[in-house]
Subunit: 326 residues, 2 copies
């Protein structure tokens, strides 16, 4: 029986870690895009994403390949949000026993397309029966690159908030598909085949001055509110932001809808949202465009004038999508 | 641009591993209780287990704590099957929006009870809406102990097949609960609160002569057939096996049922099934009883006289439970 003064503080921590690996080996637990844990001396990123038929997708307009692609892409996007590298996927699938094997193979093909594109191995999972709807949980295991991982916390007053691409396309696509309208291909693609920003996340995590990052899954306002809360800083989103594409504007004009609403509250774009210090903005915008051939877009600023999410200085009426309130 | 003769075979493997970590870093992919992967120089065990309301459990007789316990325990049991140590859990939960918060808290309490008992950290997950049934996917991340992990493959002709405890209790408990009968507590507990055999799995993986191991989730015959197939060896299960408890016998006698049927085909006992060489059986039985205060039970033998699963030398009519055929 050792005494504390014999084994010391770090001896004690090692002992505790052996008995409760949870306590000492959890770097970031519940509350960010991924959990960050230690396995021995390695840092591992863990996340999962659950999709339910007729909540997240409908067979009426989503092919089985689309369903698989999106389920995997949304899980992998959580690794992008940390600036990490995805390594392995597990797939848990519940489906009614009448489901055709072709349909299920299509789902796995969609998952494999994501896996191939991002060099991920599908290593296991579970299949079981459900009574009436398909449910699909994709777990992703990754690791940080650059020995650094980006959190939602860390944004500072004075930082500029930036997104890696246009917003609102996915939710406009969802609306059009759901209503059975003729859907512009850019909108349908954005909704059915979102692209995890893995390379962009890794590049951004290597840039000095990037303080916080996440992916936009629930809509800009709602997700920016997470950065505000976790970073304990005010966030002011600006209506003057330029994140609307021609395709979205054309669709909205034809339907008499507001582009800005889709950009502010529409979820599932899976672009990255990050906070970067003012002095680094120009270099990062230039470097990003040179590397990826696409532009970054400023959407707001971090401030210490208030401590919450605001839209042009005012509290927004609606933030975005809540699974349990829709 | 390097040439192959400059970087050599292992240089090439390293290059490939960097581009497709899947290929080179997957030690065991789909087909065993866990996936076995490498993250850097660490070996990591991955598994997930999906439970669906009215397929795997009913709210009528399972408390929310029971539901959470069993979902976590069945995932953790996959780590036991490899002789590993569970480290982290992710919980993905889909439920109808009317579900009471108390009920959901109960599910998480059940999961936390397993986590506490086995020193596992619940580090993340996902929650979303479902339309009518609860679905619960628990992902577990673990690591091998003794630098060894047990697979379903590896059993050899002449090996004895052994289980770590009595069988059939869970499925008899399921039957009684489902029929609304007065349920003997041992049967109800076996069904609602199965115990992952983590310490037993670790101990067995450290014993010389244990060649293959898995947990019994789908029933002895069905699971033993996996060992037969993955090890490419015949398996003969013996009706003379002594894996029936007094409680199961009493229940079956009162109901006019066959104990043996429950022991052979009843799933979800989560005892471990392993193949051990004949010369080591006595030492392992003695050591196990001394360590755990419980007896091991011989259930069959591995043979090269045939290459499939048999029951007393004959092909069994029914093997066990298939989620998509029940």
């Amino acid at each position: 029986m050792s005494r504390l003064d014999e084994i010391g503080e770090f001896g004690l921590i090692d002992r505790i870690a052996k008995v409760t690996p949870g306590a000492a080996n959890v770097v970031e637990g519940i509350g960010d895009d991924c959990a960050v844990v230690r396995v021995g001396d390695r840092v591992v990123l863990l996340s999962c994403d659950l999709s339910v038929e007729d909540v997240h997708f409908r067979r009426r307009y989503a092919s089985p390949e689309d369903i698989g692609w999106k389920a995997a892409a949304s899980a992998v996007s959580d690794i992008a949000a940390m600036g990490g590298r995805p390594l392995f996927l597990l797939v848990a699938l519940a489906c009614p026993k009448q489901t055709s094997v072709d349909f299920l193979e299509g789902i796995y093909k969609g998952i494999q397309s994501v896996a191939r594109q991002f060099h991920i191995a599908v290593v296991g999972g579970d299949t079981t029966r459900s009574l009436d709807h398909i449910a699909l949980d994709v777990t992703v295991v990754g690791e940080p690159v650059n020995e650094r991982w980006m959190l939602r916390s860390g944004a500072k007053a004075g930082d500029v908030l930036v997104v890696t691409g246009p917003l609102g396309l996915s939710s406009a696509g969802h609306r059009a598909l759901d209503r059975g309208e003729a859907v512009p291909i850019a909108l349908a693609n954005a909704h059915l085949r979102p692209m995890p920003r893995i390379a962009e996340g890794q590049w951004l995590s290597a840039q000095a001055g990037v303080h916080a990052m996440m992916d936009i899954s629930d809509g800009l306002l709602q997700d920016a509110a997470h950065i505000s809360k976790r970073s304990n800083v005010g966030v002011d989103i600006k209506r003057t932001m330029q994140v609307c594409t021609t395709e979205l504007r054309t669709y909205c004009d034809a339907q008499g809808l507001s582009c800005l609403d889709f950009c502010l509250a529409g979820g599932e774009d899976y672009e990255l949202l990050f906070a970067v210090e003012q002095e680094k903005v120009l270099a990062i915008f230039t470097g990003f465009a040179a590397t990826f051939g696409r532009d970054l877009h400023t959407v707001g600023v971090c401030t210490n004038e208030f401590n919450a999410l605001r839209l042009d200085g005012c509290e927004p009426l609606v933030k975005g999508f809540d699974h349990f309130r829709s």
